[in-house]
């Protein structure tokens, strides 16, 4: 019985391994066959246990093992198992040879029994070692396979994620493009709004002027009418004097008539300038620089601003003075824009003195002064008022767009910011303010020449 444990163990290990292989590789007949072999080995072992060891059963074991080893060895479906089979071969063959020699040449066997025994032990060790080594290789391969499967799985997951992400990116890109287009459109709208605002600021300041313009046109027209009327009368008188032969008087009247015609011409031009100025003021700036007389602009807008406010508010009154440097001559500028700056500064100055007048009453004499002066690096235009001045805490904000101290609806808050743009950007000049709270402000424009 002791002898049979080894073939049983070998048959079982071997058959179990092959059955598993057959099962994995879907070889159902082979699977059955190996199951039967297992069954047979077990039965043989039990029979031996009952009837005791005999030479017959030993040969049956040999046959069983030979069959197990050599039948699959020739089959192509078991090619991957060959190294496994080879592990068993030496033991199966040597144990067979051993038994054969024991039977056939007992003398010889007896003499070399120790060698036979060692040989079998060696083949058994070989079997164990090979199995062990194969097992290790198998495990390593299995590990590698699992690792690869895992990696494949990760790669598959990555691929799926990648597709998802690409979809997401496309979606986001589309969204961003849409947002960009929306923003571009909004920017376009804002630009339009800005130019509309600038235009409405111009129109608002024109509105402030309307009454002043009416007054300023009416005045020269009155003179044109009055001087032409009086000239007509003078002509009649001259006729009388001529008839009387009064030459000295005639000479005097002729001189007056000449003077009157000059006056008519002067006042006609004055009205003409006002209308031109108004049209220029309402028109979008051409941005074209031309030689213009800063003194004419200053004087014209001083009157327009004054009479404009005066016509809107009858109680308004202020002293105004112009101190103009006649040596300046014509300088290069965008006249309608500089005119707008002057007008704005003057309107603010008049507004400031009116506020103070309202607060202080009779005792206060509101005064606005505009002066021009030739300086080393250009021309300086100063607009001063004796109003309340600008509080220190807002002085930094006055040139910012939409900043206004006037009540809602009274100011756009664009006046000074536009002035600043025109002076600093368009004319590369400077716009500065000095102010003393309670005493007044001075705005200084420096235009480089």
């Amino acid at each position: 019985m002791d002898n049979s444990i080894v073939p049983l163990a070998i048959s079982v290990v071997y058959a179990v391994r092959f059955r598993k292989y057959a099962k994995i590789n879907r070889l159902p007949q082979w699977e059955n066959l190996f199951r039967n072999a297992l069954f047979f080995a077990s039965l043989l072992f039990v029979v031996e246990a009952i009837i005791g060891n005999s030479n017959y059963t030993r040969w049956v074991w040999h046959l069983l093992l030979l069959a197990l080893v050599f039948v699959p060895f020739q089959r192509s479906e078991f090619r991957p198992m060959r190294s496994y089979i080879i592990a068993f071969m030496p033991y199966v063959l040597l144990s067979l040879v051993n038994n054969f020699c024991e039977l056939a040449v007992p003398e010889f066997f007896k003499t070399y029994e120790a060698y036979f025994f060692n040989g079998i032990v060696l083949t058994f060790i070989w079997l164990l070692a090979t199995l062990y080594s194969q097992n290790r290789q198998f495990k390593a391969a299995e590990k590698e396979r699992i690792k690869r499967e895992h990696e494949d799985e990760i790669n598959r997951a990555i691929a799926i994620r990648k597709t998802e992400l690409e979809g997401l990116v496309t979606e986001r890109t589309a969204e961003l493009t849409r947002q960009k287009e929306e923003l571009e459109q909004t920017l376009e709208e804002l630009k339009t709004t800005q130019s509309q605002l600038i235009q409405s600021e111009k129109m608002a300041s024109l509105g402030e002027l309307t009454a002043g313009i009416a007054h300023e046109i009416q005045n020269p027209l009155n003179f044109v009418n009055n001087f032409s009327e009086v000239s007509n009368e003078l002509l009649e008188e001259m006729q009388v004097e001529l008839d009387q032969g009064n030459h000295e008087e005639v000479k005097q009247i002729v001189a007056d008539l000449k003077n009157n015609l000059e006056k008519i011409n002067h006042h006609g031009k004055r009205a003409d300038n006002i209308v031109k100025g108004m049209l220029q003021h309402s028109r979008a700036s051409t941005g074209q620089k031309e030689a213009a007389d800063i003194n004419v602009l200053a004087d014209e807008y001083l009157r327009l601003a004054y009479h404009g406010l005066r016509a809107k508010d009858k109680s308004f009154n202020a002293k105004f003075e112009a101190d103009l440097d006649s040596t300046i001559g014509k300088i290069s500028m965008v006249p309608q824009d500089i005119g707008r700056v002057i007008l704005n500064l003057l309107t603010n100055a008049f507004y400031a003195v009116t506020e103070k007048k309202r607060a202080l009453g009779e005792a206060f004499e509101p005064t606005v002064l505009i002066s021009t002066k030739k300086v080393a690096n250009g021309v300086e235009i100063k607009v001063s008022d004796n109003g309340f001045g600008i509080p220190a805490k807002i002085i930094d904000k006055i040139f910012q767009p939409f900043f206004s101290t006037k009540p809602t609806g009274k100011g756009t808050g664009l006046g000074l910011s536009l002035c600043y743009e025109i002076v600093t950007k368009e004319h590369a000049g400077e716009l500065k303010v000095t102010t003393k709270e309670g005493e007044g402000s001075v705005f200084t424009v420096l235009l480089p020449v």
């Binding site: 005045n219 027209l221 009155n222 001087f227 006056k263 009858k314 202020a318 002293k319 004499e365």
Partner: protein, 126 residues
């Protein structure tokens, strides 16, 4: 000879008056003095020898307005104050009312109708 003070910030008004009243000036019936602001007019009226019996004043002037001037004259001269005629732009109802309240003796609109002014002066000046 009656002296008339004309107050207006437009300097050309002087030529107009002198030409329209050429004959009257030459014949010594009327004399004109001109002031170009309310303040100037007050200074003139403060001089003892001013002799002005009638004042013609524009309302719309920078600094001291015609109405301020009117008020000042009517306050200063209790008996008898010089005649004051106010001149202003056409259709200015508000200034008209104010001038009347302050005691203006007459009211003229621009552009001045010198013919009717002449008539008025003849009847108003004693």
């Amino acid at each position: 000879m009656a002296k008339v003070l004309v107050v207006d910030d437009e300097r050309d008004i002087k030529d107009l008056f002198e030409q329209h009243f050429r004959k009257e000036i030459r014949q010594g019936e009327l004399a004109f003095v001109f002031s170009y602001s309310g303040e100037e007019a007050i200074t003139y009226l403060q001089s003892p020898e001013h002799e002005a019996v009638l004042i013609l004043s524009d309302i719309n002037m920078p600094g001291m307005s015609g109405l301020d001037l009117l008020k000042s004259i009517k306050e200063r001269y209790k008996t008898p104050p010089p005649l004051v005629m106010m001149i202003t732009a056409y259709g200015d109802e508000e200034n008209y009312q104010r001038a009347m309240q302050l005691g203006a003796d007459d009211f003229l609109t621009k552009p001045l109708d010198f013919k009717s002014l002449k008539e008025k002066l003849k009847t108003k000046i004693p």
